[in-house]
Protein backbone atom coordinates (compact mmCIF):
# COMPACT_ATOMS: atom_id res chain seq x y z
CA UNK A 1 0.00 0.00 0.00
CA UNK A 2 1.58 3.22 -1.14
CA UNK A 3 0.22 5.86 1.20
CA UNK A 4 1.77 6.85 4.50
CA UNK A 5 0.26 5.89 7.83
CA UNK A 6 -0.47 9.58 8.53
CA UNK A 7 -2.30 9.95 5.22
CA UNK A 8 -4.32 6.79 5.89
CA UNK A 9 -5.28 8.10 9.35
CA UNK A 10 -6.43 11.47 7.96
CA UNK A 11 -8.51 9.74 5.27
CA UNK A 12 -10.07 7.33 7.78
CA UNK A 13 -10.90 10.11 10.26
CA UNK A 14 -12.37 12.35 7.55
CA UNK A 15 -14.58 9.53 6.24
CA UNK A 16 -15.76 8.88 9.81
CA UNK A 17 -16.67 12.58 10.23
CA UNK A 18 -18.65 12.81 7.01
CA UNK A 19 -20.09 9.31 6.53
CA UNK A 20 -19.60 7.53 9.84
CA UNK A 21 -18.43 4.60 7.72
CA UNK A 22 -15.25 2.73 6.84
CA UNK A 23 -13.32 3.80 3.76
CA UNK A 24 -11.50 1.47 1.37
CA UNK A 25 -8.39 2.25 -0.65
CA UNK A 26 -8.37 0.56 -4.07
CA UNK A 27 -6.71 0.98 -7.45
CA UNK A 28 -3.08 1.70 -8.26
CA UNK A 29 -2.09 2.81 -4.75
CA UNK A 30 -2.38 -0.80 -3.61
CA UNK A 31 0.32 -1.85 -6.09
CA UNK A 32 3.79 -1.48 -4.57
CA UNK A 33 5.40 -1.79 -8.02
CA UNK A 34 3.79 1.39 -9.35
CA UNK A 35 4.65 5.02 -8.67
CA UNK A 36 2.40 8.02 -8.05
CA UNK A 37 -1.17 7.79 -9.29
CA UNK A 38 -4.53 8.86 -7.94
CA UNK A 39 -5.69 7.88 -4.48
CA UNK A 40 -8.90 5.92 -5.17
CA UNK A 41 -11.30 5.69 -2.25
CA UNK A 42 -14.63 3.90 -1.78
CA UNK A 43 -17.35 4.49 0.81
CA UNK A 44 -20.83 2.96 1.19
CA UNK A 45 -23.73 4.89 2.68
CA UNK A 46 -27.52 4.69 3.12
CA UNK A 47 -27.87 8.42 2.42
CA UNK A 48 -29.79 9.67 -0.62
CA UNK A 49 -27.75 10.47 -3.74
CA UNK A 50 -28.02 14.21 -3.03
CA UNK A 51 -27.00 14.02 0.63
CA UNK A 52 -24.20 11.61 -0.25
CA UNK A 53 -22.92 13.95 -2.95
CA UNK A 54 -22.91 16.91 -0.52
CA UNK A 55 -20.80 14.89 1.89
CA UNK A 56 -18.59 13.56 -0.90
CA UNK A 57 -17.71 17.13 -1.93
CA UNK A 58 -17.13 18.11 1.69
CA UNK A 59 -14.90 15.11 2.30
CA UNK A 60 -12.80 15.90 -0.80
CA UNK A 61 -12.59 19.55 0.32
CA UNK A 62 -11.42 18.59 3.81
CA UNK A 63 -8.88 16.15 2.42
CA UNK A 64 -7.52 18.89 0.15
CA UNK A 65 -7.18 21.15 3.20
CA UNK A 66 -5.59 18.44 5.32
CA UNK A 67 -3.39 16.68 2.77
CA UNK A 68 -2.69 19.45 0.27
CA UNK A 69 -3.42 19.16 -3.42
CA UNK A 70 -3.45 15.42 -4.13
CA UNK A 71 -5.37 13.65 -6.85
CA UNK A 72 -8.08 11.87 -4.93
CA UNK A 73 -11.12 10.10 -6.40
CA UNK A 74 -13.91 9.19 -4.03
CA UNK A 75 -16.56 6.71 -5.16
CA UNK A 76 -19.63 6.68 -2.92
CA UNK A 77 -22.14 3.87 -3.24
CA UNK A 78 -25.71 4.92 -2.47
CA UNK A 79 -28.80 2.67 -2.34
CA UNK A 80 -29.97 3.81 -5.80
CA UNK A 81 -27.68 1.60 -7.79
CA UNK A 82 -24.78 -0.82 -8.13
CA UNK A 83 -21.99 -0.09 -10.63
CA UNK A 84 -19.14 -2.39 -11.74
CA UNK A 85 -16.60 -0.17 -9.97
CA UNK A 86 -18.35 -0.82 -6.65
CA UNK A 87 -17.73 -4.57 -6.92
CA UNK A 88 -14.09 -3.96 -7.88
CA UNK A 89 -13.56 -1.64 -4.89
CA UNK A 90 -15.17 -4.14 -2.49
CA UNK A 91 -13.19 -7.07 -3.89
CA UNK A 92 -9.78 -5.41 -4.15
CA UNK A 93 -10.05 -2.57 -1.65
CA UNK A 94 -8.33 -2.44 1.71
CA UNK A 95 -10.15 -0.85 4.65
CA UNK A 96 -8.05 2.00 6.04
Amino acid sequence: MRITRDTATIIRDTAAELFGAPVRLFGSRLDDQKRGGDIDLYVETDLTAEDAEKRRLRMLARLARRLGERKIDLVVKTPDGELPIHAIARREGVVL
Binding site: E53, L60, A64, R65
Partner: protein
Protein backbone atom coordinates in the same frame (compact mmCIF):
# COMPACT_ATOMS: atom_id res chain seq x y z
CA UNK B 1 2.40 48.16 -10.10
CA UNK B 2 4.52 47.32 -13.12
CA UNK B 3 3.18 47.38 -16.65
CA UNK B 4 3.89 43.64 -16.96
CA UNK B 5 1.75 42.58 -14.02
CA UNK B 6 -1.34 44.66 -14.66
CA UNK B 7 -2.34 42.96 -17.94
CA UNK B 8 -2.12 39.47 -16.41
CA UNK B 9 -4.60 40.37 -13.64
CA UNK B 10 -6.90 42.11 -16.09
CA UNK B 11 -6.58 39.25 -18.58
CA UNK B 12 -7.47 36.67 -15.92
CA UNK B 13 -10.52 38.69 -14.83
CA UNK B 14 -11.63 39.14 -18.45
CA UNK B 15 -11.24 35.43 -19.12
CA UNK B 16 -13.32 34.63 -16.02
CA UNK B 17 -16.03 37.05 -17.14
CA UNK B 18 -16.20 35.37 -20.54
CA UNK B 19 -16.61 31.90 -19.01
CA UNK B 20 -19.17 33.22 -16.51
CA UNK B 21 -21.21 34.73 -19.35
CA UNK B 22 -21.56 31.40 -21.16
CA UNK B 23 -22.05 29.53 -17.90
CA UNK B 24 -24.95 31.81 -16.94
CA UNK B 25 -26.40 31.37 -20.41
CA UNK B 26 -26.44 27.57 -20.01
CA UNK B 27 -27.68 27.90 -16.42
CA UNK B 28 -30.65 30.03 -17.54
CA UNK B 29 -31.71 27.43 -20.14
CA UNK B 30 -31.85 24.52 -17.68
CA UNK B 31 -35.00 23.95 -15.63
CA UNK B 32 -33.65 23.33 -12.12
CA UNK B 33 -33.61 21.05 -10.23
CA UNK B 34 -32.77 18.26 -12.63
CA UNK B 35 -34.44 14.93 -11.96
CA UNK B 36 -33.15 11.38 -12.02
CA UNK B 37 -35.63 10.62 -14.82
CA UNK B 38 -34.12 13.37 -17.00
CA UNK B 39 -30.68 11.86 -16.54
CA UNK B 40 -31.89 8.39 -17.54
CA UNK B 41 -32.81 9.50 -21.07
CA UNK B 42 -31.85 13.14 -21.56
CA UNK B 43 -33.08 14.93 -24.66
CA UNK B 44 -30.38 16.00 -27.15
CA UNK B 45 -30.93 19.67 -26.41
CA UNK B 46 -30.49 19.11 -22.67
CA UNK B 47 -27.27 17.14 -23.27
CA UNK B 48 -25.85 20.04 -25.33
CA UNK B 49 -26.81 22.58 -22.66
CA UNK B 50 -25.37 20.44 -19.85
CA UNK B 51 -22.15 20.07 -21.85
CA UNK B 52 -21.92 23.86 -22.10
CA UNK B 53 -22.67 24.16 -18.38
CA UNK B 54 -20.00 21.62 -17.40
CA UNK B 55 -17.37 23.03 -19.76
CA UNK B 56 -17.80 26.66 -18.70
CA UNK B 57 -18.10 25.72 -15.02
CA UNK B 58 -14.82 23.86 -15.31
CA UNK B 59 -13.07 26.66 -17.20
CA UNK B 60 -14.30 29.35 -14.80
CA UNK B 61 -13.18 27.35 -11.78
CA UNK B 62 -9.79 26.68 -13.42
CA UNK B 63 -9.22 30.30 -14.38
CA UNK B 64 -10.19 31.65 -10.97
CA UNK B 65 -8.15 29.05 -9.08
CA UNK B 66 -5.11 28.77 -11.30
CA UNK B 67 -4.78 32.31 -12.63
CA UNK B 68 -6.91 35.00 -10.99
CA UNK B 69 -6.35 34.20 -7.30
CA UNK B 70 -2.59 34.32 -7.43
CA UNK B 71 -2.55 37.20 -9.95
CA UNK B 72 -4.60 39.37 -7.56
CA UNK B 73 -2.35 38.62 -4.58
CA UNK B 74 0.92 39.04 -6.43
CA UNK B 75 0.07 41.55 -9.16
CA UNK B 76 -2.46 43.82 -7.47
CA UNK B 77 -1.83 43.46 -3.73
CA UNK B 78 1.96 42.96 -4.02
CA UNK B 79 1.96 40.00 -1.65
CA UNK B 80 4.72 37.33 -1.79
CA UNK B 81 2.64 34.39 -3.04
CA UNK B 82 4.40 33.66 -6.36
CA UNK B 83 5.44 30.16 -5.36
CA UNK B 84 3.06 29.41 -2.50
CA UNK B 85 0.88 26.31 -2.30
CA UNK B 86 -2.72 26.83 -3.40
CA UNK B 87 -3.81 26.15 0.17
CA UNK B 88 -1.85 29.21 1.37
CA UNK B 89 -3.25 31.34 -1.45
CA UNK B 90 -6.81 30.34 -0.47
CA UNK B 91 -6.18 31.05 3.22
CA UNK B 92 -4.84 34.51 2.43
CA UNK B 93 -7.79 35.34 0.17
CA UNK B 94 -10.14 34.21 2.94
CA UNK B 95 -8.31 36.47 5.43
CA UNK B 96 -8.68 39.37 3.00
CA UNK B 97 -12.41 38.53 2.63
CA UNK B 98 -11.97 38.08 -1.10
CA UNK B 99 -13.04 34.46 -0.67
CA UNK B 100 -15.94 33.63 1.70
CA UNK B 101 -14.46 30.24 2.66
CA UNK B 102 -11.34 28.38 1.57
CA UNK B 103 -13.00 25.04 2.36
CA UNK B 104 -16.06 25.95 0.30
CA UNK B 105 -13.73 26.78 -2.60
CA UNK B 106 -12.32 23.27 -2.34
CA UNK B 107 -15.90 21.92 -2.58
CA UNK B 108 -16.37 23.93 -5.77
CA UNK B 109 -13.09 22.50 -7.05
CA UNK B 110 -14.27 18.96 -6.23
CA UNK B 111 -17.57 19.65 -8.03
CA UNK B 112 -15.59 20.87 -11.03
CA UNK B 113 -13.59 17.66 -11.13
CA UNK B 114 -16.80 15.61 -10.97
CA UNK B 115 -18.32 17.55 -13.88
CA UNK B 116 -15.16 17.58 -15.99
CA UNK B 117 -14.49 13.84 -15.87
CA UNK B 118 -16.84 11.05 -16.72
CA UNK B 119 -16.79 9.29 -13.38
CA UNK B 120 -18.94 6.19 -13.18
CA UNK B 121 -22.20 7.19 -11.54
CA UNK B 122 -25.91 6.43 -11.41
CA UNK B 123 -28.56 8.76 -12.91
CA UNK B 124 -29.52 9.86 -9.38
CA UNK B 125 -25.91 10.73 -8.60
CA UNK B 126 -25.57 12.60 -11.91
CA UNK B 127 -28.60 14.81 -11.22
CA UNK B 128 -27.41 15.36 -7.63
CA UNK B 129 -23.97 16.48 -8.89
CA UNK B 130 -25.46 18.98 -11.29
CA UNK B 131 -28.05 20.27 -8.80
CA UNK B 132 -25.31 20.87 -6.23
CA UNK B 133 -23.14 22.63 -8.82
CA UNK B 134 -25.92 25.05 -9.80
CA UNK B 135 -25.73 27.38 -6.74
CA UNK B 136 -21.94 27.46 -7.17
CA UNK B 137 -22.47 29.52 -10.34
CA UNK B 138 -23.63 32.54 -8.35
CA UNK B 139 -20.96 31.89 -5.71
CA UNK B 140 -18.23 32.02 -8.34
CA UNK B 141 -19.86 35.15 -9.80
CA UNK B 142 -19.71 36.84 -6.37
CA UNK B 143 -16.06 35.82 -5.93
CA UNK B 144 -15.24 37.26 -9.35
CA UNK B 145 -16.97 40.56 -8.43
CA UNK B 146 -14.95 40.73 -5.19
CA UNK B 147 -11.68 40.09 -7.04
CA UNK B 148 -12.49 42.64 -9.74
CA UNK B 149 -13.15 45.18 -6.99
CA UNK B 150 -9.70 44.55 -5.51
CA UNK B 151 -7.79 45.21 -8.73
Amino acid sequence: MSGQERPSVAAAIDECRRHLHYLRDANSRIVWPLTTQQMEAPADELVATLDQFAFRFSRLQDTLGQKAFRAILVGSLREPFEDSALRDVLDRLEQLRLLPSAERWEEIRAARNSLAHDYPDTPAQRSARLNLAQPMVSEMGAILDALAGAV
